[in-house]
């Protein structure tokens, strides 16, 4: 079994009016089967309200399934006595870095997780050091978090999760509030964790160019998985993605527009280099 697995996962919530009367039931996640292998880099796309964050919140037991089962490293997330083990196995990073940082000093903030796990002090410091190095924030260990840029804060948040030695990290739109270089820094750090440290990554994002290096992409719509494949397979379906309120990276879109004008190019071009190579062939 993979590190994260869901079977027939359904999550419903009840809508109520002001007096608390039931107005109806919304199915946010609708029979989702997912199997993520240890060490994979998974991306989840989907428009606002497609159910991707609700799905993500099941992976570290913030939400429990209405129907079906979620296993994290073999543990059923509905078993309450496994809660802390599950949250240490699958860490979560959210959109707004300011809501996730509590320490007065960067290294204290990163040490908070392992400290709460009852790790001996010496090991906490070792973990803090290696986590900050992994996200490239070690020089800032003595800084106050409020002196950092958005991208730096978000990397500190990731280090804080990393210090708990999770097997899997779920990132829910970690770059939505960042400037271009902040986005780049965070994505580079995430790829590093995956490739160097072997941490399983589940990345939710609205920025299409951030996921071209993912192993597999899932596209959600109305709580279901609407598309699944490699980035190339997914991004070669420009019209289908647009119908799902999504997009493709600019380079893919440019190649697609040129194709429509009769330039013979392969489908699903993902990088500038690929497009340049292909166009040189045409010339």
């Amino acid at each position: 079994m993979g590190i994260v697995r869901t079977k027939e996962l359904v999550y419903e919530y009840i809508r109520r009016d002001e007096e608390g009367n039931v107005e109806g039931i919304t199915t946010a996640v609708d029979h989702v089967d997912l199997d993520v292998a240890q060490g994979e880099f998974i991306a989840i796309l989907g428009h606002n309200g497609s159910g991707k964050s609700t799905l993500a919140k099941h992976i570290n037991a913030i939400l429990n399934p209405t129907e079906g089962t979620v296993w994290v490293d073999g543990m059923d997330t509905s078993e309450e006595d496994k809660l802390w083990d599950i949250r240490q196995t699958a860490g979560m990073v959210f959109q707004n870095p300011d809501n996730q940082i509590i320490g007065q000093v960067v290294e204290e903030d990163v040490g908070f997780g392992p400290e709460n796990m009852g790790i001996p002090t010496k090991e906490i410091w070792e973990r803090v050091e290696e986590s900050l190095k992994a996200v490239g924030m070690y020089e800032y260990r003595k800084y106050s978090p409020n002196k950092l840029s958005g991208g730096q804060k978000q990397r500190v948040s990731i280090a804080g999760v990393l210090a708990m030695h999770p097997k899997c990290i779920v990132l829910d739109e970690p770059t939505a509030m960042l400037d271009p270089s902040g986005r780049k820094e965070v994505i580079r750090a995430v790829r590093g964790l995956n490739q160097v440290e072997g941490v399983t990554v589940i990345l939710i994002t609205h920025y299409m160019e951030e996921i071209i290096h993912a192993d597999r992409v899932f596209v959600m719509d109305e709580g279901k998985i609407a598309m699944e494949g490699t980035p190339r397979e997914i991004f070669s379906q420009v019209e289908k993605l647009k119908n799902l309120r999504l997009d493709v990276p600019q380079v893919t879109l440019l190649a697609y527009e040129l194709q429509k004008k009769g330039i013979p190019l392969p489908k699903g071009i993902l990088t500038t280099k690929e497009l340049a190579d292909a166009l040189m062939g045409v010339k």
Binding site: N48, G182, K261
Partner: protein
């Protein structure tokens, strides 16, 4: 008629040991009807700058002239200024609070002391302008999708009938279609009404696509001020200050380096496709 900033300086915590210079000798002129993009890394002074324009922050030194009048004059009506210069904050949907969409949009004009009929006319007009369908008018704002909530919040500011509309990252956290819809609507609003619009954004692709003029902020000063083509031709310098050019601009440079005679100043997919086609035909 225009906004003129004349040697504006702003220091946070002036006369304290923690004083930080947030704006450094800003001189700008924004004529009526322009669609201006403001870009800059986190902490570059973008938000501080726009908060000066409706008098939320008062410059430490310098003058601001709105329609020829100095807004810092003793008897200048700053309350009126705030209705003339509408500011939509980041994540404005967090400020929705009324029981239904229509009442929420009425809140602003009602506080201007207008009669009920005028208030309702304005609210209706504003909701139509942001493209919100009639059947949602009496829904609770909390039942809407992220993009719809954001439109309601923008309508709340439009209902004040501002001459200038400032939007601070109006598309953060929205899915690609949601981003496109909001920006398209804003562009249409600007073309139909001739309203001056200032758009603060972290998305270079969006700015390139929609605005006529870009102001680049860096360390509290204006670094560049020009058309998207002019500004993004400095892409190397922009990278040094935490920004970037749209992905297409990089593609054009790569193609040029490989010997395809394209216009490297292209900043949108449309322009890029056109210049690539031309270059291929010549070759």
């Amino acid at each position: 008629m225009s906004i003129i900033l004349d040697h504006i300086n702003y220091i946070y915590g002036a006369d304290t040991p923690l004083a930080v210079k947030a704006l450094d000798d800003i001189c700008l002129q924004i004529p009526d009807g322009q669609f201006v993009g403001i870009i800059g890394h986190t902490g570059s002074g973008k938000s501080t700058l726009v908060q000066h324009l409706n008098g939320l922050l008062k410059a430490t030194s310098g003058h601001i002239y709105f329609n020829g009048e100095d807004i810092y004059e003793k008897d200048y009506d700053r309350k009126k200024l705030r209705s003339k210069v509408g500011l939509v904050f980041q994540y404005p949907e967090h400020q929705l609070f009324e029981i239904d969409v229509f009442t929420d949009v009425c809140f602003g004009p009602k506080n201007l002391g207008l009669d009920k009929k005028e208030v309702e006319l304005r609210a209706y007009d504003a909701l139509r302008k942001v493209g919100l369908p009639d059947e949602l008018f009496y829904q609770s704002p909390f039942d809407l999708s992220g993009g719809q909530k954001r439109r309601v919040a923008i309508a709340g500011v439009l209902a004040m009938k501002p001459e200038v509309l400032i939007l601070d990252e109006p598309t953060a956290g929205l899915d690609p279609r949601g981003r496109e819809e909001i920006l398209h609507q804003i562009k249409e609003l600007q073309m139909k009404t001739g309203m001056t619009i200032l758009l603060v954004s972290h998305s270079m692709e969006d700015v390139a696509e929609y605005v006529n003029r870009i102001i680049v902020m860096n360390h509290g000063s204006v670094m560049y001020d020009g058309t998207p083509r002019e500004v993004f031709s400095h892409y190397k310098e922009l990278e040094e200050v935490g920004l970037a050019a749209p992905q297409v601009t990089y593609i054009m440079h790569e193609l040029k380096d490989r010997g395809l005679d394209v216009d490297t100043d292209a900043t949108t997919i449309e322009e890029a496709a056109e210049t690539v086609l031309k270059a291929l035909h010549r070759a």
